[in-house]
Symmetry: C2
Subunit: 180 residues, 2 copies
């Protein structure tokens, strides 16, 4: 098999799950994000609870210009100190590299923030398809009572910057009982 | 609304259809591809029959570096002079720009060809997810008896080169009754 022959994988478009070769998996617990929550002590207490899992198909290496990576996120329902379960969120290091996401199941919010910290949301529901321009930080929040499952495609060379999110957060947090 | 705020669209993950703003549509008939078939005369006779339709979501302009476009193709079942219905196929002008495709329904072939005209196929069936490295020409062929529906994501700046396919074709054609 030459480098030009990448074995296909299977994407289950009902569940969002990927099966095949070159699939990287990760999982994060509530405690893994302790510094991201408004109530870090509550996060420490809920430490081991699964927050989200991801699968990423890597037909090319991370960082390769012109390649697209494809993966899912399963963000569990729940809250920490009243704050809905969320992903860390990130900036792209290359600020012209976009991201495209399709919701498979569940309901929630795609939170977008510009460089002036203006923050707004897009509603995520089955089939909703979102475009994140490269110059916006983005995070997802599960506001429903079932897992929020979505697929994303992104340029392999976008780079990920989590640091400033840990330090400054987004311009808005999302608590149980709020209106969005 | 700023340029950073692109309205989400809906992707029906069961049918592959897109609904929303900034969606470009196209359709090709058997006759539109007259020069691509092994039997151009048969293609002229079947001229008005729908061959395939596409929808492309354009959250960014074609050609923008770092942007990803997302769209579907519905390739009808059928044959022309015994040759299975197919798309034109193309090269990317930028030979490091990949393409990623997910089959929604139907069955067929993703035909890949390198610069030495070596040609091979990947089987397409529901959920099959394919990575086309940027240096390979690619075409799809519907070998089933229902529409072959698939979604693709590609870099907006990949560029499309159809000319050499019209002139030279692929290294292999796919006829009813062949084994693939």
């Amino acid at each position: 098999m030459s480098a030009s022959q990448i074995p296909p994988i299977l994407t289950n478009l009902t569940t969002g799950m990927l099966v095949g070769e070159r699939i990287a998996e990760s999982r994060r617990t509530v405690g893994d994000l302790v510094g991201y929550w408004s109530d870090p002590e509550a996060a420490r207490q809920g430490g081991d609870a699964l927050l989200y899992g991801t699968q990423t198909w890597m037909p090319a290496e991370d960082g390769v210009e012109g390649a697209i990576l494809w993966g899912n996120t399963v963000l569990m329902p729940g809250s920490v100190g009243g704050e809905f379960f969320m992903t860390r969120g990130h900036w792209h290091e290359k600020l012209d590299r976009c991201e495209m996401c399709v919701t498979v199941s569940g309901s929630g919010l795609l939170v977008l923030m510009d460089e002036s910290r203006n923050t707004w949301v897009e509603q995520m529901s089955p089939g909703s398809t979102h475009y994140v321009p490269g110059n916006l930080a983005h995070r997802t929040v599960n506001t429903g009572d079932e897992p929020l499952v979505f697929m994303c495609a992104w340029p392999a060379d976008c780079g990920h910057n989590y640091g400033s999110i840990l330090e400054l957060g987004f311009g808005r947090r999302f608590f149980v009982g709020d209106q969005f």
